[in-house]
Amino acid sequence: MRIPYFPGCAMKTTAKNCEVSAMAVASKLGIEMVELPRWNCCGVFPSLVNDDLMRHVAPIRNLIRVQEMNKSGIVENEYRLVTLCSMCYHTLKEANLFVKDKEKLTKINTFMDREEEYEGGVKVLSFLELLKEVGYEKIAKEVKKPLKGLKVAPYYGCLLLRPREIGIDDPENPTILEKLLEVLGADVVDNPCKVQCCGSYHTVDKKSIVAKLTYDNLRYPIENGAEIIATCCPLCTFNLDSRQKEAKELYRDLKEIPIVYYTQLMAIAFDLEKKFFGLDLDLYYKNPKPLLKAKNLY
């Protein structure tokens, strides 16, 4: 399967570990994620007001690239676009809903006079959905080194789940990530904070707010026995990991815990080459390697 892939800025910067592991995992499963030959920022955050058309130009421009890929033969009749980043997923999918209003779509198409017209037929997918489609049985066959004894708490964040018409699973109690982690052989720990907000973009100028949320969001899974958190979103990952530093200054009782993408856990469970784990990159506050070594997984 060759499928168009939208990386987004994070996959090329602070979430390289997510991309490198996801690409390797995908190819093991027979999926070739073909990066859009030309792409721009997804447009995050989508504007939520009705009359802000300009803010929807960026995502629509990226969806047009999928049409172009089909026309130039880079992919064959594949109008789905897969994303790894929750924020990109949310923004691209929201834009697709926004232009269901034909009047808005016409205006946006007219504005982008150098592009071909967007026809509204691209489907935006998150990588988790694609994995579900591939099937957990097929994934289970690739698990060569089950994550036995690794106590993992899932963390979804907001934008992959809400609002309901955009979300990939139940907005209050999703289970798609738990199912995947079980297939990987992990001991899945219940995380009551799994759909909470990480503090998002406040991390730029309100670190104390994010530090409090980081403390709240980590305390309960840790109490439940979690040793590591599996995340989906690059911004959640950054906040949950790097803001532990600020959280510890405010809340002395916080125990540090490593944060990794579920795609990294997949690469580990598939027993791929270590370079695909993305653990050597200089991206971590709490390094996951010691824990993984202790569990004979690294």
């Binding site: 090329k12 721009n40 920022c41 982008m112 150098r114």
Partner: protein
């Protein structure tokens, strides 16, 4: 335009709203000078390279605001002209010797690039036909090589910055990217390094001294007899 104007080979242009008849075939800059304007600033090489004479214009009956270099674009009948002497664009002070080509370095000095909404207005405003939006986007993800490649022919005219709805200064961002790419990423050109070393060691001092002391006639003769690479 009356028949006699056409016979005389003239076109009508409007400079800051006032009508003038100027000879067909003049560039915007020459047409304005013909009409009596004098360029003190906003004019430079007059060859399309220095980027000082960026301008906007509109053609009668058309709604579009168009862009050009005033020294390159020839006048058309019904052109509305003005002069854009200078773009007061943001340019932070940095010492390229002290920077590193890190992913976030462009964001550090130009955080406003994060405001790009991908409207592509900058690209449409570029008289050099560069994919400006694409390089601003590459800047956002720290891809110095792509920014350098896409912006290589930028002449720094400032039109992209004037038109950007989020006040980004694409051309200055690209200049920083090219400086960093050239200094820290691009492979060194060995022959240039060798030559610089020779210059520093004084290999050409004697020849230079001779040239400086030579008479005008000698210089002329040497110039006409020089080897020309073909």
């Amino acid at each position: 335009m009356s028949k006699s104007d056409v016979d005389e080979g003239k076109v009508r242009v409007y400079i800051m709203g006032r009508e003038y008849k100027v000879p067909f075939g003049l560039t915007i800059m020459k047409a304005m000078e013909y009409a009596g304007y004098r360029f003190i600033r906003g004019a430079g090489c007059r060859g399309g390279f220095c980027g000082s004479c960026a301008t906007v214009y509109r053609i009668e009956g058309d709604y579009k605001l168009r862009v050009a270099l005033a020294c390159q674009k020839t006048v058309e009948d019904g052109m509305y002209l003005t002069q854009l002497p200078f773009t007061p664009a943001n340019k932070p002070v940095y010492d390229v010797e002290k920077l590193s080509p890190s992913v976030n370095v462009l964001l550090e000095y130009y955080p406003e690039i994060a405001k790009c909404v991908s409207c592509n207005t900058c690209t449409k405003a570029c008289p050099q036909d560069l994919e400006v939006m694409d390089y601003v986007q590459a800047a956002l993800r720290g891809d110095l090589e792509e920014v350098s490649r896409l912006s290589f022919d930028c002449i720094g005219c400032g039109l992209c910055a004037m038109r950007c709805p989020t006040s980004i200064v694409p051309y200055n961002v690209a200049q920083l990217a090219r400086r960093l790419y050239g200094k820290y990423v691009m492979p060194r050109a060995k022959h240039v390094d060798d030559r610089v070393k020779e210059v520093e060691e004084g290999k050409f001092d004697e020849e230079m001294k001779n040239l400086m002391e030579a008479s005008l006639d000698v210089l002329k003769e040497r110039y006409t007899k020089r080897d020309i690479e073909k």
